[in-house]
Symmetry: C2
Subunit: 342 residues, 2 copies
């Protein structure tokens, strides 16, 4: 079984973006603010957007199930206040829930949170609870920078984040650490801000005792861990210099890296440097990079091809990367699969 | 000949840090503001700090010459105003000039600039001119984020930076794109901010037409290019998606990556992905990572070992990385070497 731990609903019907545009207009002009109930998307529309996009590629490439969350760049937590984020997160999560309900064999849901700059993360708990209890979410996406590229929130080790972690531990769900659109002109969203956030979050963990306080907390650092595996020696050296344990001794019960790295040398490095038990198959399909590599004729984000071609991996390794690790990191997914006899 | 293109005077005599502390105190209390002339560092003190540190390691490891600039984390352009930065840059540059004068066979100088948040980069021209004309600087360090982790400056493609580029073209010198200390608690300076800045600067170039306006402009992206080589497929895919030329067709006459990557798999990836003509030997010794790897018994930042062990490199490749490329990217260094018959 091949589980892709990183997919977003980037192909939602246009009505969703239109509703969001009206909501953003409503921030300045309350008369224009739409109600959640004004959004109408039929099951057939959802089916069509999934079957002709993500599910088609999954079948072509041989992936079985995707952990599916709202479009990351559309979370845009920096827009409006908590109420705006709250309504938006509820709508987006419900849509992903419907995708998972319509295609239970192929999608499991992960929830976005209604984060908002300067607002306590604890305010996200009700949406998190609803997503897990009512929608069957197996994970959350946690944005370490709700400001969208201004980095005004405290590091992930700050106690203000702890209520989220307590709920994650209670429900035994991991968080993918995933920022959203950059509204800082310095940072290209998918080319700089995403990767920077991955590196930044890892370093916040390395320099803190977060996992002493939460020994079972699990973070998935997407996009192959940003710059982390490429600079693994640097991080080991910095840890030593800070008189802290080496990352391989201190962080790998809690931090996992996905395989959203879009060329063979990158995947080769990732699987050479990071223990197989910490690598989770993912493609972020359909995401930032959706064309074919003119050099190979294959899609950049068809990451299964690179895993297959990685010469240092055994079949047992590939099983861990494709399925075994995901069942361990996402126990609610494992339980759901077992309930279906899988 | 082995040229290390990335070294900082991290071992300057304590008097320098003491003077800087007094200068910082003087920002709030002008009565405490020291004059530049209050700093006294003898040639013998400089000799001692170099001979027992950088030069000792260069000899042990077999490097001949280091392009040597003021300590990057001490630039701290976010502290004080332009006048504070200006005095500080003048002092730090003069010290590096003295190092190069005392050890002309082993050090060539690169200059820091007196950048200051919100102040036009053009104000840095006099210090740049003095450094090249009077001090023999062969390069500059350019900080894309003088705010120290708040990223309030416009991208490097903004026209406010152009006066710097015009001078670089006039003098035929490259810039290393190098940030300084992070004063944003989200970003660890050497573990996150440095690497993020490298990735960010590369992406600012990829998404702009900067090198159309300055076809001969040359940037050295340090720390192995941040996340760039590891995610080379991602950058190629994003460029395609933006209907821009592929980075290998568009950026590699202008952008170079150093080898400050502190483990073998990282150097292997760098030299596999990035054309040899764009890789410059460097160690950033003595820098952020100054211990020995407990697994190998060798210094993390002894990057020559990794270059030597990279199986895909020929001797001709190593010559390019160690010397040939540096002579091309730093023509003023090449001229100085040739004037000495080298």
């Amino acid at each position: 079984m091949i589980i892709d731990c990183h997919g977003h609903y980037t192909t939602a019907p246009q009505a969703l973006a239109d509703w969001r545009d009206r909501q953003i207009a409503g921030i300045k002009d309350p008369a224009q603010m739409p109600r959640a109930a004004d959004l109408h998307i039929s099951d057939d529309e959802i089916r069509e957007t999934i079957e002709t996009n993500q599910l088609r590629y999954m079948r072509e490439r041989g992936a079985d199930l995707t952990i599916f969350s709202p479009r990351a760049s559309f979370m845009a937590h920096h827009i409006g206040d908590f109420k705006v984020s709250s309504t938006w997160a509820a709508i987006c999560n419900e849509l992903c829930h419907r995708v998972a309900n319509l295609f239970p064999e192929h999608f499991a849901m992960a929830a976005m949170l209604p984060q908002s700059p300067g607002v306590a993360p604890a305010t996200c708990i009700p949406e998190l609870e609803k997503s897990v209890k009512e929608y069957g979410a197996v994970a959350i996406n946690l944005n370490p920078d709700p400001s969208g590229g201004h980095w005004t929130a405290p590091p992930l080790s700050d106690r203000s984040w702890y209520p989220i972690y307590e709920k994650m531990v209670e429900y035994d769900i991991p968080a993918m650490i995933h920022v959203s659109t950059s509204c800082n002109p310095c940072f290209h969203t998918t080319g700089a801000h995403y990767l920077n956030a991955d590196t930044t979050a890892f370093m916040q963990c390395l320099t803190s005792d977060l996992f002493k306080d939460f020994p079972t907390l699990r973070f998935v650092v997407p996009h192959g861990g940003g710059a982390v595996p490429y600079h693994w020696g640097r991080f080991r050296g910095i840890a030593l210099r800070m008189k802290r344990p080496l990352p391989e001794d201190n962080l790998l019960d809690n931090i996992y890296f996905d395989t959203c790295v879009y060329h063979q040398p990158g995947i080769d490095l990732l699987t050479r440097v990071i223990p197989v038990k910490n690598v989770l198959f993912a493609s972020e399909m359909i995401g930032a990079v959706r064309d074919k590599d003119p050099d190979t004729g294959f899609y950049f984000d068809d990451t299964k091809r690179y895993i297959e071609a990685a010469t240092t991996l055994s079949e047992a390794d590939r099983f861990q990367i494709y399925e075994g690790n995901a069942r361990r990191v996402y126990p609610r997914l494992d339980a759901a699969l077992k309930a279906r006899g899988l």
